[in-house]
C-alpha cells in the first residue's frame, strides 16, 4: 500500500527563514518535510509521509489573510494531499491564527481531514477550536516531542478513517460538542479522586466546565454625543399596527426594521406591541413608553444628539438570552456599522 500524502504548514520561524524580521515572507512551497515536519516521519512509519511543506510569514498571513489563504490553497491542492497538518503553533498568537485559518480553509475547500496544534490560550484556539481539531500542546516549543506524538496519533486515526474519540482521549481542545467515552475508572471513583485533589488544592480537571457567562468588553464612550447618529432598538415588540412581519408574541424568530422618516412620535393609532409577556395596554396607549421616538426627536431639535437613525429595530425578547436575538443583532449591527451609527439605545420591557 502506498503511503498517504500529507502536506504540512509552518511559519517562517520554524522554516528557519528567520524571526520577526522575516515575518513578511510570502507563501512558498517546498518538497518534503522541513523543521518540525521531520519529526513526524518516524511516527507516520509506513502509513504516511509529508510530501511537501507550505511556508508563510506570520505577518504576511495575518495582514493579507484572503490572498495568503488563496495562494497557499493553490500550492496545497497541487500537492494532492490526503491530510493536512498545520503547526504546532504553541503559544505564538499570529502563527496560531494562521494555523487555524489555513486548516479551516483546506478542510472546507479540499474536503480532506485537517488538524493543527497549539496551546489552549493561543487566540487561534478560541477562534478555530470548533471548526477544526486542534491538538492541545504546551505553551512553547519545549513541548514539540509531545505535540508531534499526539498530533501524529490523531493524524493516523484520521487517515485510517477511525472514529475520533472524546477530546480527553485524543488530546484535542474541546469543540463544544459533548462526546461520550468509557473511562477506566467508574464515576464514583473519579469523583473521590477529584475531591481529594480539590481538598489538597491540587489541579483537577472538571469533566464538564460550567457554561461561562459570555462577556463583551465595553466599547469606548461616544466622543461627542451631540453629533452622534443614534439608533433605537427594542425587545419590547413595538411594531406597526397589524404586525406586518408577524413577529411572534414570545421567543420571536423574527425581527422587524421600521422606517421613522417623518415620524415624530409613535402614535397609538399606528403602532402597538406584539409582546405577549406583559400587559400590553400601557405600551399600546403610548408606544413611546417603550420606544422613545418622541424624546429622540426633541433631543435632535435641542441638538443634544446628532440624529436619530432612520430605522428602528424591534423584536420580542424576554430578558434572558435568546439565541435568535443574538442572530438578529449580529445581522442588523452590520447595517448600523455601514450607516455609521455611533451608538444604540436598546430598550427592554
Amino acid at each position: 500500500m502506498s503511503k498517504k500524502r500529507v502536506v504540512h504548514y509552518i511559519n517562517q520561524f520554524f522554516a528557519q527563514i528567520g524571526g520577526e524580521e522575516m515575518a513578511h515572507v510570502k507563501p512558498e512551497y517546498r518538497e518534503g518535510p522541513l523543521g518540525p515536519g521531520l519529526a513526524f516521519g518516524p511516527a507516520f512509519g509506513d502509513h504516511a509521509e509529508i510530501v511537501g511543506t507550505v511556508i508563510c510569514g506570520d505577518s504576511y498571513f495575518n495582514e493579507n489573510m484572503e490572498e495568503a489563504k488563496a495562494e497557499l490553497l493553490k500550492m496545497i491542492k497541487a500537492a494532492k494531499p490526503d491530510l493536512f497538518i498545520a503547526g504546532p503553533a504553541f503559544n505564538a498568537g499570529r502563527y496560531g491564527v494562521a494555523c487555524g485559518a489555513i486548516s479551516e480553509a483546506v478542510k472546507n475547500e479540499l474536503g480532506i481531514p485537517v488538524l493543527t496544534g497549539m496551546y489552549e490560550e493561543n487566540p487561534g484556539a478560541d477562534m478555530f477550536k470548533s471548526a477544526v481539531y486542534i491538538v492541545s500542546t504546551r505553551n512553547s516549543a519545549v513541548g514539540m516531542r509531545d505535540a508531534v506524538k499526539k498530533m501524529s496519533a490523531l493524524a493516523l486515526k484520521m487517515l485510517k478513517d477511525e472514529p475520533i474519540g472524546a477530546s480527553s482521549e485524543d488530546h484535542y481542545i474541546p469543540q463544544g460538542i459533548r462526546v461520550n467515552l468509557f473511562e477506566k475508572d467508574r464515576g464514583s471513583k473519579r469523583a473521590v479522586d477529584m475531591l481529594l485533589k480539590k481538598l489538597k488544592d491540587q489541579p483537577y480537571v472538571t469533566e464538564y466546565p460550567m457554561p461561562a457567562f459570555d462577556r463583551v468588553d465595553p466599547q469606548p464612550a461616544v466622543k461627542d454625543i451631540r453629533s452622534a447618529k443614534i439608533a433605537l432598538v427594542t425587545s419590547g415588540g413595538i411594531v406597526p399596527k397589524g404586525n406586518p412581519d408577524h413577529i411572534e408574541s414570545s421567543s420571536a424568530t423574527k425581527y422587524g426594521r421600521y422606517d421613522l422618516e417623518g415620524v415624530n412620535y409613535l402614535s397609538k393609532n399606528r403602532y402597538a406591541t406584539a409582546h405577549g409577556g406583559y400587559d400590553p395596554s400601557y405600551a399600546n396607549e403610548d408606544p413611546d413608553r417603550v420606544v422613545p421616538v418622541d424624546m429622540m426627536r426633541e433631543f435632535e431639535k435641542e441638538e443634544k444628539i446628532g440624529s436619530l437613525y432612520r430605522y428602528f429595530f424591534s423584536t420580542v425578547g424576554n430578558g434572558t438570552a435568546v439565541k435568535n436575538a443574538k442572530a438578529f443583532a449580529e445581522e442588523f449591527s452590520k447595517e448600523l456599522i455601514e450607516e455609521n451609527v455611533q451608538a444604540v439605545i436598546l430598550t427592554s420591557t
Binding site: A221, V222, D279, F299, G317, T320, A343, I345
Partner: protein, 78 residues
C-alpha cells in the same frame, strides 16, 4: 442582543426595568427603567410629567453613552 451590538463595535446602553437581568445578559451600560409594561413612561402621571420622566431616563442614557467605563455599570437616573 445587547452583547452582539457591542461586539459589533457600537456602544450600547440598555434601558430596562430588571437591571440584574441586564447584567446577566451582559450589558455594560445599564439605565434602570420604570416598569416592565412601560419602561419609559408612567401612566399614573399626567402627560407632561410623564414626558419629564422619560426625558430624565433618556438623559441618563446619553450620559451613559458618553461615559468611559471598564466594567458593567448601572447609571442612575437623576
Amino acid at each position: 442582543m445587547v452583547k452582539e451590538i457591542e461586539r459589533a463595535g457600537i456602544p450600547v446602553v440598555h434601558i430596562c426595568t430588571v437591571t440584574p437581568i441586564s447584567q446577566t445578559v451582559g450589558a455594560n451600560r445599564i439605565v434602570p427603567a420604570i416598569a416592565i409594561p412601560h419602561p419609559l413612561g408612567d401612566p399614573s402621571l399626567p402627560l407632561e410629567e410623564e414626558k419629564a420622566v422619560r426625558r430624565r431616563i433618556m438623559n441618563a442614557a446619553l450620559k451613559a453613552l458618553s461615559t468611559e467605563i471598564s466594567e458593567q455599570t448601572v447609571f442612575d437616573v437623576d
